[in-house]
């Protein structure tokens, strides 16, 4: 059976070059970077090299990069760390209704613990936050605003530069969860004007277990992990050298290939959309039509049981998801689709298809064939060929 992976937003395969760099690091350069002897110094150098590569990918200075165990830790550190470091300024957090669970969960926890007051901004039908809405929500006691760069479920890219400007004018720090964007589209912390940015290696062909929080120089953070003086006192714990090396290698490769990758992803995604809209009726693309990740399609098929659709596709060898991997298995429409105001008859029949480096035109055509056929069957109608609406 043909196997087609179309869940690159959940996790990407590790590139062979990345795996080999990690293999080398584990076999040869396995010292503790804090050790003063040669084994330690060699490991330290690998970590520093990786730091520079990650910094280069997002236009930051190496010292602004704090390695974490992934995007979730980066988000938690950004929000809880800033709140605790700025206790004297207030305890008001602002975020949006379509954020990743790592952001919303952290805000919820802090609110429940009585440490924060949280304002959750609405989004438009595409999933975007309006800069004017943000401006109205920011208060003198706001200590941080967190809005994601690109949405993991529907792929919409937020107007981060504008949102960050609103915050800068009011001297409020701005965090963006760029986990889905980094390595897929150009991201530059200076151009965006953000104070904090989260990224995760396994979303751009690096390993799971590595990520980073980019912290603008001068922005104070209370660490989440206390202990040794690693990462300039911002994150204690012996560095996860192999995964950090993998993250660095993935960043290096992504920086070189960003344009070509974007073009390939867009071509595959657009082929997918052309196929789907050409052959299936009552289908809708969720999220913004143009301001969206090039590799990302989130589709709703009216009146179709999404769970059944996913199951059938899995049996046909197609790996995709209803929304985010983290929320998978939840039967009700996701918080993102609710925030976008997607009606239940549409939301229930949703599937996220994300393409990647290895995706081929044949893969896409196979998925379109399977989708057309399966949707038709689930709608109780005739197989796809007969039910074709727009040839």
């Amino acid at each position: 059976m043909r196997v087609v992976y179309m869940d690159y937003a959940a996790s990407t395969p590790v590139r062979p070059e990345v795996a080999e760099a990690m293999n080398q690091a584990m076999l040869e350069t396995w010292g503790n970077p804090s050790s003063p002897h040669r084994f330690g110094r060699e490991a330290r150098k690998l970590v520093d090299d990786a730091r520079r590569k990650v910094a280069d990918l997002v236009g930051a200075a190496p010292r602004e990069v704090v390695f974490t165990s992934g995007g979730t830790e980066a988000d938690n550190l950004a929000i809880a760390g800033t709140l605790l470091a700025r206790r004297d300024r207030g305890r008001h957090l602002v975020t949006s209704a379509v954020e990743h669970h790592a952001v919303l969960g952290t805000c919820e926890y802090l609110a429940r613990a009585g440490l924060a007051e949280v304002t959750i901004l609405p989004v438009d039908a595409y999933g975007r936050v309006d800069p004017d809405t943000l401006a109205a929500a920011v208060r003198p006691d706001t200590v941080l605003v967190s809005v994601m760069l690109a949405n993991n479920e529907v792929g919409t890219i937020q107007p981060i530069a504008e949102l960050a400007r609103v915050c800068r004018e009011r001297e409020v720090p701005f965090h963006t969860d760029a986990v889905q964007a980094v390595g897929t589209i150009p991201v530059n912390v200076r151009e965006l004007g953000v104070d904090l940015l989260s990224l995760a290696a396994h979303k751009f062909y690096g390993p799971q277990g590595a990520g980073a929080l980019v912290v603008r120089r001068g922005h104070r953070l209370e660490p989440l992990l206390h202990g040794g003086s690693h990462e300039r006192q911002r994150r204690a714990g012996t560095e996860g050298v192999p995964a950090i090396v993998g993250l660095g290698k993935a960043a290096e490769l992504a920086a070189v290939e960003l344009e070509a990758y974007g073009a390939h992803a867009r071509a595959m995604r657009d082929r997918l959309l052309d196929g789907v809209f050409g052959r299936i009726a009552d289908v809708r693309l969720n999220g913004h039509p143009t301001s969206r990740l090039p590799n990302h399609a989130h589709l709703s098929f009216r009146g179709v049981d999404g769970e059944a659709l996913l199951l059938k596709l899995d049996l046909l060898g197609i790996a995709c998801s209803a929304g985010s991997a983290c929320a998978a298995g939840a039967p009700e429409p996701s918080h993102v689709l609710r925030a976008l105001g997607v009606e239940p008859e549409w939301a229930g029949g949703s599937v996220r298809l994300t393409v990647g480096r290895p995706t081929t035109a044949e893969d896409v055509d196979y998925v379109v064939d399977c989708l057309a056929d399966t949707v038709a069957r689930l709608r109780g109608g005739l197989p796809a060929a007969a039910g074709r609406v727009r040839p």
Binding site: S35, T72, H101, C320
Partner: protein, 410 residues
């Protein structure tokens, strides 16, 4: 130079390997070399099970299965139930999760914690954080051997004591703490007061060296780190007893049964599982070989340096893999570098503190004078250490120590 060209003699790599064979890596308490089987497992996991374990499709399930197998291996090593194992990014995260997590979950029940002066910086720093958060922390002294007295723990427990945290093996001098006695004190206290009071054991230096049974130890929480027993860096675990609630350190997607959010580090976790399997074999074989190697090292140092003083216990209360010595008059930091230049890798104390100039808090807590603290060297072994490395270290140590002492005296 022609001899170094490919095909015309040993290549650079071969020369490097030849050189490495003459080396002695005796800094296994700082980190260990990942076992070849661990490296292979990590790389294989990246090739095969690259899916997100939370994904409902076949690739996600494959990744989930790999994580499950690793969880079972870690649980088996520790005599715990797989559901009790929460994977973390390492020992520091496990310790932070345990201490802050318990404090946050039960803070209405009590705001007093007990620990000891010779604990790892992760424990002490997390405790300081709790202090800033309104907790009162009693830091118990250790004796000249680095040991905590269970009677002192018993005496320090109060009706509002919520948390006690002690390490099983001290990372700088290898003292094996009387954790069973401490656990009994905590348990009896809990029974007497009827209030929640939890014992966390930092077993980072013990796992893979000594038999560690979570059930027998009587601890409520236990931390471990993969890279201390030939697993990869960047992965560890917190073992949590049944019925022990804690507030997760990382909020988000609710992975690890809601106890630790974030996409699972599948390759790292698989590597940890492999290391746990290997460690189970070593531990089952008993520590006698490791103890013999340590004995050889200790005897060799005593023979060559009659004034050198072994730190910590020298009986069954000594871990089989750590031997720290004070060499009076030796500048320790300089010695570490000089030995390293000759292929012998040791440390002055823990790696986490070697980048800071502060003298070791552990040795100070044991009552050493600052001058003695600066003259200490830690030798740490692992089941992969070879006798040859001990002999190399002893042969190199002799002239280096003599030379540096002579220089220091001038």
């Amino acid at each position: 130079m022609r001899g170094l060209r490919a095909g015309a003699g040993p290549g650079l790599t071969a020369v490097k390997q030849l050189k490495r064979r003459t080396e002695a890596y005796l800094d296994n308490a700082a980190t260990t070399r990942p076992h070849a089987a661990v490296v292979a497992a990590v790389v294989e996991a990246m090739r095969g099970a690259f899916g997100n374990p939370s994904s409902p499709h076949a690739l996600g399930l494959e990744a989930e299965r790999a994580v499950k197998a690793a969880r079972e291996a870690v649980a088996a090593l520790l005599g715990a139930h797989p559901d009790q194992v929460v994977f973390t990014s390492g020992g520091t995260e496990a310790i932070n999760t345990a201490l802050k997590g318990i404090a946050a979950a039960y803070r209405r029940e009590g705001r007093h914690a007990v620990t000891a002066a010779a604990e790892h910086p992760a424990t002490l720093a997390a405790m300081r954080h709790l202090e800033e958060d309104g907790f009162e922390v009693t830091v118990l002294p250790v004796d000249g051997q680095g040991l905590v007295d269970p009677a002192a723990v018993r005496a320090a427990l109060r009706p509002d004591t919520l948390l006690a945290s002690f390490m099983l093996v001290n990372n700088e001098v290898g003292s094996v703490q009387p954790v069973a006695g401490i656990a009994a004190a905590v348990r009896e206290h809990r029974q007497a007061t009827g209030r929640p009071c939890f014992l966390h054991v930092d077993a980072v230096q013990a796992v893979g060296r000594l038999p560690v049974s979570f059930a027998q130890l009587g601890a409520d929480l236990l931390s471990l780190s993969g890279h201390k027993f030939h697993g990869p860096k960047g992965v560890g675990a917190l073992v949590v007893g049944e019925g022990v609630r804690f507030r997760p350190l990382l909020a988000g997607g609710g992975q690890e049964g809601g106890r630790r959010s974030g996409t699972e580090n599948v390759p790292g976790i698989v590597g940890l599982g492999k290391a746990a399997k290997l460690a189970a074999g070593w531990v089952a074989a008993g520590p006698s070989e490791l103890r013999a190697l340590r004995g050889r090292l200790v005897a060799g140092i005593r023979e060559r340096f009659p004034d050198a003083r072994l730190l910590g216990p020298d009986d069954e209360r000594a871990a089989p893999h750590i031997a720290s010595f004070v060499f009076p008059g030796l500048p320790g930091e300089v010695a570490v570098r000089a030995l390293g230049a000759r292929g012998v890798y040791v440390s002055t104390g823990s790696a986490c503190s070697t980048r800071k100039p502060d003298p070791s808090h552990v040795l100070l807590a044991m009552g050493l004078a600052p001058g003695e603290v600066r003259s200490a060297l830690r030798f740490s072994l692992s089941p992969m250490t070879e006798e040859r490395e001990i002999d190399t270290a002893l042969a190199v140590l002799e002239p280096v120590v003599a030379e540096l002492r002579a220089l220091a005296r001038r």
